[in-house]
C-alpha cells in the first residue's frame, strides 16, 4: 500500500494545489514542496530494503481475471529513479518559485508538475507492465501540459503538440509490444517476465515485440530518428526543461531499457538496433549542440547526445556496460539539471539566451558562473567530476567491445569524436557566455539571482563534485544496488575510482579533451560551414508536412462521407440498415412464422389498436400543424401505456403514463419557441421516397416482431422470480431487478439522466429566443397566464399528489411502483404548480435550484453501493430485514430502498431541472418584454 500511496499522493496533491493557489504564490510553492516531501517520506522507510538486496513487491487485486493488478515494485533501480524524480523535483519546486513571474499562474504550474511527478513515479515503481504503460501515457499527457504552459506562445503550443504526437505514437507502439510480451510470457508482471527471459528471446514473436517496445523507448528518450521533438520542447519554462530533460521524461525511455534489459538484451537484434540508434544519436546530438546559439538549444542537443550514450551502453549488452549506463543516468541527471537551471538564471537575469549576444557575464554573476563552469566541466568529462567517471567507463567499454572485430576500431574512434564535440560545446557554453569580451546590448543589466534560486544549483554542483572526487563513498552503494536490480544477476567486477592507470580509456579521454578544445578554437570557420549546409535541415518540416498531409486526408474523407444534409445521412443510414437486415432474410429460407401459438384476439384490444394506429396516422398527417400533432401523439403514448397494462406490466404502464405527461409538457413549452407551422415541404419525390423507406422499415420491424412472437423461447426469468423474495426481499420482481439484481445498470442510467439534465441546463444558458405572440391560427395568446380556478385546484391537489408519490415509492419493492415512478409523479405534481401558479410564486416556496437534488440522489445511490464494501460484499449488494413498528405493524427495511431513494431524487431533480430550465427561458423573455 505504501508504494501505491506514494504514487497517488502527487495526483491528489495536484488537485489540492489548484485550490491552494488562491492563498498566494509562496503558499502554492510550499504546498507543492510538502507534497513532494510527503511522497519521499512515504518511501523513506523502504530505502534500506534494496540495499539489503531485497525487492519489495506490493500487490492489490484490480481485475485479476484479466491479469491486471495494481502491482508495485521497489528495487534498486526503482529506488534510484524515485530518488531522482523526487529529489530533483523538490529542487525544481524551489527553483520555479523564483523563476516564474507574477503573470504566470503558480497553481497551474505546480498542479501540472505534480501530475507529471506522480506519473513518473508510477512508471518507475510499476511491477505490472500494463500499469506501467498507463503511467507512461500519463507522462506524455502531463508533459504536454507542462511544455505548453505558456499557452499564448505559438512555439510552446507547437512544441507541445509535436512532443505529444511523437511520444503518443511511441506509447501506442509500446502498448503493442507490451501486449505481445504478455502474450509470450502469460503474465504482465515484471518478475514473470524476468523469469521467462530465455523463452522471450527464443520466441518467434521476439523481433516484432522488440521493435515495438524500442519504438516506445526511442520516441520517449528522443533517440534518432525521433529526436527532433526534444529541441522544440524547449519552448517550455526552464524549470520544466530542467526537470523533463534531466531526470524524468526522457529518462523514462532509458529506464524502460534498463528495466527490460534482463529480459530482452543479449541478442544480435537488440545489439544492432539499440546500440545503432544510440550511436547515431550520440554523434548527431553532440555535433548539432555545438552549433546552437540558444543556450537551451545547446543543452537540448547535448541531452539528446547523452541519452544516445546511455542507450548505446545498454545496447552493448555486457553487464559492465549496463552498470556504466546506470551510472551515467545518475551523473547526467545531476549535471544537466544544474546546467538547465543555470541557463534559466542567465535568461532570467540577462533577458536573453542567445550566445551571440551574451558574453562577459563573469563580471556580473561570478558565483553563478563558477557553478555553471563546474557543471559544464562535468558534462565535458573533466577529471574530478562525476561526468568523467561514467565517461571513462563508457570509453573503456567501447574500446573493449571493438577488440577482435573487423572494423572494431570504428566504435572507439566515433565515441572519442562525440566526446570531443561534448568538450567543445561545453567550452562554448562557458566561454561564450561568461567571457569572450564585453556583453552586447542585453535587454536587462545582469546580476546574481536571489539566494534561493541558486540553492538548487549549488546542491547539484556539490553532488557532481562529491561523486567525482569520492565515487565509492558517495554513490557506490546506490549504484551497486541499482545496477544489480537492472541486471537481475550478480554484479560484474568494477572499480569506482578516479585513477585506473594508463589505459585506452584514459587516452581516449585525453584525446577528446584536446580535440574538443581545438574544435572550439576553430569554431568560426566551422559555424560558417555548418550554416551553409546542414543547418537548413529541420525535422520540423517533414513532420509538419506529414501532419498536414494526415489532416488533409482526414478532411477529404470527411467531405467524401459527409453530405452536410441530415436528411440524406439519416436516409442512407436507414437504407443501409434495411439492406443489411433484409439481404440475409431474403437469401435464407427460414419461414417467417414459427410454431408458437399466440393469444386470441378480442374486440377491445382491436379497438384500442385502431385508436393507436389512427392517432399515429393523424400525427403524421397533421405534422405541420404542430399543436394538433402534439395532441395526437399524446393519444399514442396513452395507448402504449394501456398495452403495457393489458400484458401484465403494471410498472411499465405507470412509468409510461407519467413520462407521457412530462414529455407533452416539455414539447408544449418548446413549441412556444418554435414556429407553429412547418415550412412548405419541397417536392413530392422526397416525400414518396421517405414514405417508401418508412414503410419498408415498418414492415421489417413488424416482420421481426412477428417472427419472434411466433417462436418459443427460453428465459432466464426463473432465476429472478425464484430469488426475488429470498434474495432481494421484495415481491415486485421488476423493482427488485432494478434496485438489486441489476442495480449497477440502474446507477448508470440515473447518471445518464442526470447528465442529460445538466447538459440541457448548460445549453439553455444565454439562450435568446423570440417567443411567439400568437398561436398557429393567428389568435393572440390568453393574457390570463394563471387562471384562478386551476391555481386553487392544483394547490389543493399538491399534498395529495405527494402522498400518492410517497405511497408509490414505499410500496415499490413489493407492489407496482418504485423510485422511478414516484419520482415522475412528484415531478409532475411540482411542474403543475409551475404551470398553474407561475415560476415566481413557486420559487418563493421551493428552491429554484435542482442541482442539490441530483447530487444528493447520485450520492445516496453510490454510497449505498459503496456501503456494501464496508461489510466485505461486492458493490451494491443489498440487505434487508423486517421490524415491527408500533401502529404500522411489520415493516420491511431494505438497503435497496436507500438506493431507490437515490433513483427517486435523481428523477425528480433531472425532470424539474429540464422543465423549469425551459420554462426559465420563457420567464427571462417576458421580463425583458415587460420592461
Amino acid at each position: 500500500m505504501t508504494l501505491l500511496l506514494a504514487v497517488l499522493l502527487p495526483f491528489a496533491g495536484a488537485a489540492l494545489i489548484a485550490w491552494i493557489a488562491r492563498f498566494g504564490r509562496s503558499a502554492t510553492a510550499w504546498a507543492a514542496g510538502a507534497i513532494t516531501l510527503g511522497s519521499l517520506a512515504l518511501l523513506a522507510p523502504l530505502f534500506p530494503l534494496p540495499f539489503a538486496g531485497e525487492t519489495l513487491i506490493q500487490q492489490q487485486d484490480w481485475m485479476p481475471a484479466l491479469g491486471l493488478n495494481l502491482a508495485f515494485r521497489f528495487d534498486g533501480l526503482a529506488l534510484l529513479f524515485a530518488g531522482l524524480i523526487l529529489g530533483i523535483g523538490l529542487l525544481i519546486v524551489l527553483y520555479a518559485r523564483y523563476y516564474l513571474s507574477e503573470r504566470d499562474s503558480m497553481g497551474r504550474f505546480y498542479a501540472y508538475l505534480l501530475l507529471f511527478m506522480g506519473s513518473m513515479l508510477g512508471i518507475v515503481l510499476s511491477e505490472n507492465l500494463i500499469q506501467l504503460l498507463i503511467f507512461w501515457e500519463l507522462t506524455s499527457l502531463s508533459s504536454f501540459l507542462l511544455i505548453s504552459y505558456w499557452q499564448h506562445r505559438e512555439e510552446a503550443r507547437h512544441g507541445a503538440r509535436m512532443a505529444l504526437a511523437v511520444t503518443g505514437m511511441g506509447g501506442f507502439a509500446l502498448l503493442g509490444g507490451v501486449l505481445l510480451l504478455g502474450h509470450m510470457v502469460g503474465s504482465y508482471e515484471l518478475s514473470d517476465v524476468f523469469a521467462s527471459a530465455g523463452l522471450i528471446r527464443a520466441h518467434p514473436l521476439y523481433v516484432p515485440t522488440l521493435a515495438l517496445i524500442l519504438l516506445g523507448v526511442f520516441t520517449k528518450s528522443a533517440q534518432f530518428p525521433f529526436h527532433f521533438w526534444l529541441p522544440h520542447a524547449m519552448a517550455a519554462p526552464t524549470p520544466v526543461s530542467a526537470y523533463l530533460h534531466s531526470a524524468t521524461m526522457v529518462k523514462a525511455g532509458v529506464f524502460l531499457l534498463a528495466r527490460l534489459w534482463p529480459a530482452l538484451s543479449g541478442t544480435p537484434e537488440w545489439f544492432w538496433l539499440v546500440s545503432g540508434a544510440g550511436l547515431a544519436t550520440l554523434l548527431l546530438g553532440a555535433y548539432v549542440a555545438l552549433f546552437k546559439h540558444d543556450l537551451k538549444g545547446l543543452l537540448a542537443y547535448s541531452t539528446i547526445s547523452h541519452l544516445g550514450l546511455i542507450t548505446l551502453l545498454f545496447g552493448l549488452s555486457t553487464p559492465l556496460a549496463a552498470v556504466a549506463g546506470v551510472f551515467h543516468i545518475i551523473n547526467h541527471a545531476t549535471f544537466k539539471a544544474s546546467l538547465f537551471m543555470a541557463a534559466g538564471i542567465i535568461d532570467h537575469e540577462a533577458g536573453t539566451r542567445d550566445m551571440r549576444r551574451l558574453s562577459g557575464l563573469w563580471r556580473f554573476m561570478p558565483y553563478t558562473a563558477t557553478l555553471a563552469m563546474v557543471a559544464a566541466a562535468a558534462m565535458a568529462g573533466v577529471p574530478l567530476l562525476n561526468g568523467f567517471l561514467s565517461k571513462e567507463m563508457f570509453f573503456a567499454e567501447a574500446a573493449h567491445i571493438g577488440q577482435g572485430h573487423v572494423g572494431g576500431w570504428l566504435l572507439p574512434v566515433l565515441v572519442t569524436l562525440a566526446g570531443a564535440f561534448a568538450v567543445a560545446y561545453s567550452i562554448r557554453f562557458i566561454h561564450d557566455v561568461f567571457f569572450n569580451g564585453e556583453p552586447g546590448d542585453l535587454p536587462k543589466t545582469p546580476h546574481e539571482p536571489p539566494r534561493w534560486m541558486k540553492l538548487p544549483v549549488e546542491i547539484l554542483v556539490v553532488l557532481c563534485l562529491a561523486v567525482g572526487v569520492a565515487p565509492g563513498l558517495v554513490v557506490g552503494p546506490l549504484l551497486a544496488t541499482a545496477a544489480s536490480s537492472t541486471l537481475q544477476a550478480a554484479l560484474p567486477e568494477y572499480h569506482l575510482a578516479l585513477w585506473h592507470g594508463f589505459n585506452a580509456a584514459l587516452a581516449m579521454s585525453a584525446l577528446a579533451l584536446v580535440l574538443g578544445s581545438l574544435i572550439y578554437l576553430a569554431r568560426r570557420p566551422l559555424f560558417a560551414w555548418h550554416e551553409r549546409g546542414l543547418d537548413r535541415l529541420d525535422a520540423r518540416v517533414p513532420f509538419n508536412a506529414l501532419l498536414n498531409g494526415l489532416l488533409a486526408l482526414a478532411g477529404w474523407l470527411t467531405r467524401m462521407l459527409d453530405t452536410a444534409s441530415l436528411q440524406r445521412q439519416a436516409g442512407l443510414l436507414i437504407l443501409a440498415a434495411l439492406v443489411l437486415a433484409g439481404t440475409p432474410w431474403l437469401a435464407g429460407d427460414t419461414p417467417l412464422t414459427g410454431t408458437r401459438r399466440g393469444l386470441p384476439l378480442d374486440a377491445v384490444s382491436l379497438a384500442t389498436a385502431l385508436v393507436l394506429v389512427g392517432a399515429t396516422l393523424l400525427t403524421v398527417r397533421w405534422r405541420s400543424e404542430r399543436f394538433v400533432a402534439l395532441i395526437t401523439i399524446g393519444v399514442v403514448g396513452l395507448v402504449v401505456s394501456l398495452i403495457f397494462i393489458k400484458f401484465s406490466a403494471p410498472d411499465l404502464a405507470l412509468t409510461q403514463l407519467s413520462v407521457e405527461i412530462v414529455t407533452i409538457v416539455l414539447l408544449l413549452l418548446a413549441l412556444y419557441f418554435l414556429p407553429a407551422h412547418d415550412g412548405a415541404e419541397t417536392g413530392y419525390g422526397r416525400i414518396a421516397r421517405d414514405a417508401a423507406l418508412a414503410l419498408l422499415a415498418g414492415g421489417g420491424a413488424a416482420a421481426l416482431a412477428w417472427a419472434v412472437l411466433t417462436r418459443p423461447y427460453d428465459t432466464i426469468a426463473g432465476y429472478f422470480l425464484d430469488n426475488s423474495k429470498s434474495g432481494g426481499g421484495g415481491t415486485n420482481v421488476v423493482n427488485v431487478i432494478l434496485v438489486d439484481f441489476r442495480g449497477y445498470d440502474t446507477l448508470g442510467e440515473i447518471t445518464v439522466l442526470a447528465l442529460a439534465g445538466l447538459g440541457i441546463v448548460a445549453m439553455l444558458q444565454n439562450l435568446n429566443l423570440p417567443a411567439s405572440t400568437c398561436d398557429g391560427a393567428g389568435r393572440a395568446r390568453d393574457a390570463d397566464a394563471h387562471p384562478a380556478i386551476m391555481a386553487t385546484l392544483t394547490r389543493l391537489l399538491l399534498p395529495l399528489a405527494l402522498l400518492v408519490a410517497a405511497f408509490i415509492f414505499l410500496r415499490g419493492h413489493n407492489q407496482p411502483g418504485g423510485g422511478f415512478i414516484a419520482g415522475l409523479v412528484t415531478a409532475v405534481a411540482l411542474i403543475v404548480q409551475y404551470l398553474a401558479n407561475g415560476a415566481a410564486w413557486t420559487h418563493q416556496r421551493l428552491s429554484a435550484d435542482s442541482h442539490p437534488l441530483l447530487f444528493c440522489g447520485l450520492g445516496i445511490a453510490t454510497l449505498t453501493g459503496l456501503g456494501s464494501w464496508a461489510f466485505g460484499h461486492p458493490f451494491l449488494t443489498s440487505t434487508f430485514g423486517y421490524m415491527n413498528w408500533p401502529l404500522v405493524g411489520k415493516f420491511e427495511l431494505a438497503s435497496a430502498m436507500a438506493f431507490d431513494l437515490g433513483v427517486f431524487l435523481v428523477v425528480v431533480g433531472a425532470t424539474l431541472m429540464i422543465l423549469t430550465g425551459l420554462g426559465g427561458v420563457h420567464r427571462n423573455d417576458t421580463q425583458k418584454g415587460s420592461r
Binding site: L630, F673, A705, T715, F720, L769
Partner: protein, 114 residues
C-alpha cells in the same frame, strides 16, 4: 393478438422513420418519440405476450410473465424522456443560433416570424 402487436410496432416504426426524415426539427423530435415507443414495445414483447400474470410474487399466483424485459424497458422509457428533452432543447438552441428550425440550420433561410 400477436399479429396485432407486430402490426402496431410496424406502424409506430414507419411513422417514426418517416417523421425523423423531415426537414424541420419539431417533426424529427416527434419521429424520435415514435421510434422510442416502437423500440420499447419491441423490447417488451420479447418477453412474449401474457395477460393477467404480472411479475409480482404471491402465493396465489400460478404463473408470471417475464420480468427482465420489463425492467429493461422501464429504464429505457425514462432515458427516452431524457433523450427527447435533450434533442428538443438542442433544436431550440439551433434555432436561436441559426435563426431557423431546419435540421441542417440553413443559413440563407430565416423564420417568417423570427
Amino acid at each position: 393478438m400477436d399479429a396485432l402487436l407486430a402490426l402496431v410496432i410496424g406502424v409506430l416504426t414507419a411513422a417514426g422513420v418517416f417523421l425523423a426524415l423531415r426537414p424541420r426539427t419539431f417533426p424529427v423530435v416527434l419521429g424520435l418519440t415514435f421510434l422510442s415507443y416502437a423500440v420499447n414495445l419491441f423490447l417488451f414483447v420479447m418477453g412474449r405476450l401474457a395477460v393477467g400474470v404480472p411479475p409480482i410474487v404471491s402465493e396465489t399466483a400460478s404463473a408470471y410473465t417475464d420480468p427482465l424485459p420489463q425492467a429493461l424497458v422501464l429504464t429505457a422509457i425514462v432515458i427516452s424522456f431524457g433523450m427527447t428533452a435533450f434533442v428538443i432543447v438542442l433544436a431550440l438552441k439551433a434555432r436561436a443560433e441559426l435563426g431557423n428550425d431546419h435540421v441542417d440550420g440553413l443559413e440563407h433561410e430565416t423564420d417568417r416570424h423570427a
